[in-house]
């Protein structure tokens, strides 16, 4: 298996980890959470804190998830809940929250670019190709994440209630489902997943205040072409993320950075449902 194929798979895994939380929040709350990039940054800095404290680098994953969930819980209760009936204001609020979180992080960690220790620093021979152990572990992490989300949404009562709210919130409420509680849980989970993705990314890049921005833009476009389906999101990550890797590898890395946005916009023009079946 060539390194390019493995690059495509690992990039798709990273994109999926980043976009999954955004998609769930979009599905339930019908808003794009522009603070998602900031939550991702929170995860990056949680990983940095774990490095500074000299803890096992793997501990950065649960630490980032908990930190993200805690931020999400607080923000949903204090900022988002009063804005449910004003979706445009809610979207603007998430944008402002991103700025505030960034400033708070600056106060705590400073502005300089920093790096974390990778839990796996070597390479391994995978199907005849020497490849980064850490990037392969990211694929495993994304697969576990996808499985856990699929199981939670399709195999539990809470997941059924969440799907009901996604499909028809008023009908769900008429059946006794407390949609405010579902929104609270979803926003908190979405923030936790963003932070978890941030912690997954940090061993591959630097930790800085703007680390979430390029990921947010790509995740936003991936969610738009996925039709609130985690399966469609996986396909979108593989196809568009794959295109990004190919363009970056064989044409130009700067053009590669634009690939997902351009292709997603074209896809929505040609097929408004994107990768969604319905």
């Amino acid at each position: 298996m060539s390194a390019t194929v493995l690059d495509i798979i690992t990039t798709a895994a990273l994109l999926y980890a980043v976009a999954a939380g955004l998609l769930i929040v979009f599905g339930v709350m019908k808003i794009i959470n522009f603070a998602h990039g900031a939550f991702l940054t929170v995860g990056g800095y949680a990983a940095l804190a774990v490095t500074h404290w000299g803890l096992n680098p793997w501990f950065s994953l649960p630490a980032a998830f908990v930190a993200g969930c805690a931020c999400g819980m607080l923000i949903e209760r204090v900022v988002m809940r009063p804005l449910y009936s004003r979706p445009l204001d809610a979207i603007l609020a998430t944008w402002g929250l991103g700025i505030i979180l960034g400033q708070l992080i600056t106060l705590a960690f400073g502005r300089e670019v920093q790096f974390v220790r990778s839990p796996l620093a070597g390479t391994m021979n995978f199907l005849g190709t020497a490849y980064s152990e850490y990037r392969l572990s990211v694929v495993l992490a994304a697969a576990v994440l996808a499985g856990a989300l699929g199981l939670a949404l399709n195999g539990t009562r809470l997941g059924l209630n969440t799907r009901a709210v996604i499909m028809n919130e008023n009908l769900a409420r008429a059946l006794g489902i407390d949609s405010a509680r579902v929104r609270f849980g979803t926003f908190s989970l979405g923030a936790g997943l963003a932070s978890l993705a941030g912690a997954l990314i940090t061993p591959l890049s630097s930790v800085d205040l703007n680390m979430g921005v390029p990921w947010l833009v790509n995740a936003f476009m991936l969610v738009l072409v996925s039709g609130v389906s985690l399966i469609s999101l996986g396909i979108a990550c593989l196809v568009l993320g794959g295109a990004q890797v190919l363009v970056s590898t064989y044409l130009n890395p700067i053009l590669g950075g634009l690939t997902i946005v351009v292709l997603a916009a074209l896809l929505l023009r040609l097929r408004p449902k994107g990768f969604s079946r319905d």
């Binding site: 009562r157 059924l160 209630n161 799907r163 009901a164 499909m167 028809n168 008023n170 009908l171 769900a172 409420r173 008429a174 059946l175 006794g176 489902i177 407390d178 949609s179 405010a180 319905d278």
Partner: protein, 234 residues
Amino acid sequence: MTPALELQGISSGYGEALVLREVDLTLAPGEVLAVLGKNGMGKSTLLKTVMGFLPLAAGQVRLFGESIGGHPPHVVARAAVAYTPQEQALFQDLSVEDNLRLGLRRDRQLRVGIERAGEIFPFLPQRLAQRAGTLSGGEQKMLLVARALLCQPRLMLIDEITEGLQPSVIERLSVALRAECERTGVSILLIEQNVGFARGLAQRYAVMKRGELVDQGAMHGEDTAARIAAHLNV
């Protein structure tokens, strides 16, 4: 005896525009009351107001003696109120089984619930994995009624369930609801335009015109048919 549902002078609507104006209505335990009227007269608004989807501009809503005005819909539903809206009443992309599950408070009641649904509409247990949106129109309405009955409601709010259905399906729904009334004593507030269906189920009727109840009476009184026909111009 404490009424199952008591509306005292309720007014409500959409934003500034009032649709219901000072509506008074009482539904006794075990009673079926049909609210009749043409399209756009405020019948569905009445149910949405009781459920808490629309805010009360004035008046009181009491459910078994307790005021529920201002309560959100999920709290009203948890007080054993089953609401079957006229449109988008099922989760079309969910399976029949998942739609039935959503009618139950807890999943551990599912097996008994499915058996019960099968007693009412025998086709349901054989079609559990089918997407609800792929059922025929009549089957969807039967699933809707089965789901409503699974939560063992004390009050059902049913909005024009017979619209667009064949007479044979309407008869099956009527039989199922009559049997449930006899078995459990559930109260039903029925919004209908199908007078025949309403007469087969309800003990009382009320006629709504432009957001006001303009006539109420016993469904099987001597002059009822003529009075209803006069109101509805049929």
